[in-house]
Amino acid sequence: MRFALLLLALLITPLAQASSESSWTQEFESGYISTQPLIVEDTIFVRISGFWTGEERPIVAAFEVQTGKEMWSYTSQTSLQHDMAPLLFVEGGSGTCGTWNDLLLVGWTDGKVTAHSTTNGSIVWQNQTEVELLGITGKMAYEEDRVIVPTRTGLSSFCLADGTELLDVDTGNIGWRNGVTITERGYVYGDEIGYLHQVNRNGIVLSTYIGEGKIRHAPLDTRHGLFVHLQTSQGSTLFLNGSNIGNMGASPAMPLFHNDRIYAATSDEWISISCDAQSCSVDSIEPFHSNGELALRIVDSNVEVWAPSNTPNGGWGVFNQTSLVRYEATTFDTYGTAAPGFDSGIIALGNDAGILSVRYQAAAESSSESSDIDAVGLLHYLSILLLFLLTCSSFAIKNWQQFAKIGSAFLLVAAIAVVPELSVKLAEQTASEQSVEWDASWPDEWKGTQVIVFEIDGKEHVIGGLEPQDTVYELTELACESLDITTEVEQQYLGAYLISFNGSVGDGWEFTIDGNWAPIGMEDAQLNVDSIVEWRPV
């Protein structure tokens, strides 16, 4: 009996946990939330600028994700309120300068860089950069043991362990929200007069004039060269490797790059730019008004691009790869430029009213498909519970015929719940290692990247050098899009099942990873950065 109660408790606990989830809101009176809240494990970090006029001071604060309880906050008494440099979290580590614990790095408009303890907000180290009216407003980045900071007039790097300055470059040109990107050759950032600065790790600067305008985002490093969305007096211009690929609306947002697609926005439109083997071109435009940060979220292998609507009504537009899917709204919507912060099951939204809203995915998900799946899962779960109780009851009254019937049903529905996942684990343990031969006809640039081969109707289609993907499913989707191969995928009980390529069904399709047959579904089959996937008819 005690065993039965224990098992019952184990079955009920997850349901109780699921139903106890809720959302919370935090209102700040000190200014705008203009940058993406960061969610790191059980903590949310958020920064609030001042209102740009008045006496309010800029704040950085940390909250418990589950409860909304404030863990700590830090107020700058010297910053100039226009604080729009995104927060940067760095995991603890060690390097040539020493060791460091988890750090929250903050760039301030008074030119300071402060490194805070994530547990209590205390300043671990700080350093000063150039100030010309303002200081740091762009997105920082980190590399190995150092943080790279786009300063008002150049770029600096500091040791993560103690804040020692390692590099200081001054181009003399003013920058505003001039985020930095780390590339193979060094660091790249733009400025307010249209120059793109490439700083080698030894400090040598190579500046390139893009055009008359302002570069107010971290350039995107694509395989076709750097992408820049230049703000011009007439609107904005999309540049790829120095070439104009399109003219758009005013006040561009900070673009994103994912899966061979660039997502951008302006006051007039949301833009999706597709990159293939040759170049990138504008693929889709949707009317929308967004000027700040864009954010990417992957839900069930589907891409969601979230764009804050910088209008009086506010809210967030949620797009797939090519079009607007839905609007997300809160009860306090107004102008906004901050991207939402995401973590598994959690969304943190901030806007110009200084209100931070944290909610759980279950409450935010409006997809009917996912709710259907949840309903089926819940029903399955409840049937296990019910059958277990009935089996116990049959056992208690010693009705063996009924016990056999209900017991068999209980075992079956329980097995249906656990076998697929157990099988995947087992398959991963027993998968044999083989190697696949590199095809000499493939370009050398593909070496070290994921390559995928399709044998369709006797003809081989192959592509490599794509953005690294996590699963065979993701890589297949991306590659088919680049190669113009149509796919038919069916969602089955065990996950996505590939029906056809270019309408060719045949006797079914199977894939190998690095020459190894994978006895699991394509959604579960994990890839390395240099995996070679082959799809062939059965």
Binding site: W400, Q401, A404, K405, S408, A409, L411, L412, A415, I416, V419, P420, L422, S423, L426, A427, T430, A431, S432, Q492, Y493, L494, V505, D507, G508, W517, P519, V538
Partner: protein, 203 residues
Amino acid sequence: MGLLNAALFAVAIWLLVKPQQKSETWLWPLFLFVGLASVSRIAMSFIPNLMPVTIMAVMIGSKFGVQRGISFAILVTLASNAVLGHGWWSLFQIIGWASVAAVASVVKVHDVDGNLSMNRLAFASLWSVPIFSIIVSISILDSGMSMIEFGLYIANGLLYDVLHFLGNVFFAMWFGQWFERLLSMNQPQDRLVQQENEHVSTF
């Protein structure tokens, strides 16, 4: 593939019309079973390896013999795969279920009086799984696959074989007696009443 299907269908019909020594009336119960098995297989195809056809093949084999059992396996596979998808695997599925029926015609689930034994049916739920599973797994063998890889493939499928077994037990426990009544539907009523009165679940 169409040609193979036509040939298999012809074999099934030939097996049905071929005279058999047993005098039991089998035609309509068998057709009913084929329809029932096909529909339930399609309906349950979203659950991996849950196959009501296996336990029905056991009962057909035991009740009507190997000849009708093979015919049942062919017709069910052709009918259900018309929806689920035909391929090389269809042939192996037919051989798998036909083998199960053939073994059941020897290791019967009916006692000497022709009554269904739930104990034997439960046991058949177990032995039918490896027979079907190994035969169907052979369909993936090709020249590039070593026996070790084939062994790994079989090992990876063991958990799904457990699911197949549990499904068989479920269908046996819940529908075994009902299936038996369907298979005996053309018997004289007085014999059915007698069987019903004599029936005691032995599981």
